[in-house]
Amino acid sequence: MLSTPMSADPLGRQVAAPILSVRELCVDFKLEHGIVRAVDGVSFDVRRGEVLGIVGESGSGKSQILMAAMGLTAVNGKCSGSVTFEGREILNASPEKLDKIRGSSMSMIFQDPMTSLNPYMRVQDQLAEVLTAHQGKSRKEAIDLAVEMLERVRIPDAARRISLYPHEFSGGMRQRVMIAMALLCRPALLFADEPTTALDVTVQAQILDLLSNLVRDLNAAVVIVTHDLGVIARMCDRVMVLYGGRVMEEAAIDDLFEAPRHPYSQGLMAATPRLDDDVAHDLRTIPGAPRALMGKIGGCPFAPRCERRVERCTVETPALLRGAGGRAAACHLVMP
């Protein structure tokens, strides 16, 4: 491994510098009825070997963060802020510059493998394409490497199956193919956008196990976006809770689940049904519904649904305050 640049973490210890650094990322979408701000000033770092989870419901902007980082934002979207990867600014970079990194050192797994795999191309062609484009391998070498990768993601009979089309695989296997494709060039950073949401729960367990092992081998940095707190608990080291495009709370995984500070995090935990809940009582809910931001609104985006809100919450947007132990919270009423 090459020597990695070092920096100091919040506790002053020497750690590797973050491979991905996002500062004040904002993503606005121009729509028929105005401008919607999907992401509103999100900042975070990820280091190699670390798994960051971003959890949120609809309209929280979580997927758009990944899209912005990968340069995949839709045409009517505008990104501002800064995203640095391995020290270089990549936000709004030209497609030529991004193409060199995407698929090789930075790659992404999507929710629906059927739409991210080209239904008209055989799997071997799609996989080989990645290797010939990024690493200049010959087609034969590329296919061999691809078969090896398929075996690593536990696709049985990989050498034969690789020449099939995506629709000839089951949902779980397609997701494995997509993981294989994403990891072929041994990326340093992996984004996963709801990677198991479309899968059955037993298949999900297999895929999560697989993903855990593979990224550990690569020592990759991983950012997982999901709405499922269980997946977060299973996979992540740190979590960021998003609402209305802003970070509500950030903490190490054990800290967040043991003692969530932000009212939204608390509400989300209480509303999630668990196998060890007391079923005699109703689930504790958060009133109202999540919604996307329309134009600029004053105050905390969660205020309309927060049971603890005060006057100040609707007027002044709370800043994300950082506290001890890597915790952060954006709320007027709580300390991180």
Binding site: S170, T202, Q206, F257, I286, A289
Partner: protein, 324 residues
């Protein structure tokens, strides 16, 4: 012991796959392959399983929205599958359904007031407009929708609200049974909780029975009295909720419960996980013997050879396994 409201006996739903190229019989998808259970008034039966287990098909077949190949459905003592068109329409007052995709289940061209009123108009054509409006507003209030929104269109509402509209439509005729086909799967977690609480409340208020179909065991636990686990069109286990979750007997039930990621990192790390190998077999060619034998961690030769019957266990639940 109260009389069973609904009694399903050995229900089978097979979909032919069209003929082979030379006219030979094509494959058959055995979506539901011999399912039996009872449902009592005021009870919720949670039907769980993964893709291809037939749970949605089962729900629709019971309501005769899908053709049944074999089997019997006894509803309020009548042979439901044998009812003629007119009797069937009459019977539909008491059997309703809510769907997974809240927006898709609402006709985009109709106002929500009209959507909710539709069943009323179908069965009580003599009701005056004022009376209909009154009942619609009552229904809306009962599900937590502002009655003033009657003249809005479905696309103007969020997913959770659309689901409430669907629920209002389903319960306006005070049915005895509502089939809930994955009603919260497409909703955000915080909304999911609201809808589950709403269904619980309605069940308590109206004495409804629910067939709650879902792949999410945590959600099912909150609303069901009994749980039925399906795999590839057959019942693996069926029993009371407490006993089931505390001590699942069938290996598939164990694997399902173990696969659910807990929202608790410490518990997650400490857990002993049963990971199934392989993928779901195709419903066109289910395995010989026990359907689950290809993935079962405790499968033996007996399991590959013969299919275990659904047999009762000590605490009253039914399990289909040679070794559990």
């Amino acid at each position: 012991m109260s009389e069973a409201l609904l009694s399903v006996k050995d229900l089978k739903v097979h979909f032919p796959l069209g003929k082979g190229l030379l006219g030979g019989a094509g494959g058959v998808v055995k979506a539901v392959d011999g399912i039996s259970f009872d449902l009592r008034p005021g009870e919720t039966l949670g039907i769980v399983g993964e893709s291809g287990c037939g749970k949605s098909t089962l729900g629709r077949a019971i309501l005769r929205l899908t053709r049944t190949t074999e089997g019997q459905v006894v509803w309020l003592g009548q042979d439901f599958l044998g009812l003629d068109k007119n009797s069937l329409r009459e019977a539909r007052r008491d059997l309703q359904i809510i769907f997974q995709d809240p927006l898709a289940s609402l006709d985009p061209r109709m106002t929500i007031g009209a959507i909710i009123a539709r069943p009323l108009k179908t069965f009580c054509p003599d009701l005056g407009k004022a009376e209909i409006d009154k009942r619609v507003k009552e229904a809306m209030a009962q599900v937590g929708l502002a009655p003033e929104m009657m003249r809005r269109y479905p696309h103007e509402f969020s997913g959770g609200q659309c689901q409430r509209i669907g629920i209002a439509r389903a319960m306006i005729l005070r049915p005895k049974l509502i089939v809930c086909d994955e009603p919260v799967s497409a909703l955000d977690v915080s909304i999911q909780a609201q809808i589950i609480n709403l269904l619980r409340k309605l069940q308590a208020e109206l004495g409804l029975s629910l067939l709650f179909i879902s792949h999410n065991l945590s959600v099912v636990r909150h609303i069901s009295h009994r749980v039925m686990v399906l795999y590839l069109g057959k019942v693996m286990e069926i029993g009371a909720r407490e006993a089931f979750y505390a001590n699942p007997m069938h290996p598939y039930s164990k694997a399902l419960i173990s696969a659910i990621p807990l929202p608790d990192p410490k518990a997650e790390r400490a857990r002993e996980r049963i990971t199934l190998q392989g993928d779901l077999p195709s419903p066109i060619k289910p395995p010989e013997g026990c359907r689950f034998c290809t993935r079962c961690p405790i499968a033996t030769d007996l399991c590959h050879a013969s299919e275990p019957p659904l047999s009762p266990r000590a605490d009253g639940r039914l399990v289909a396994c040679h070794h559990a």
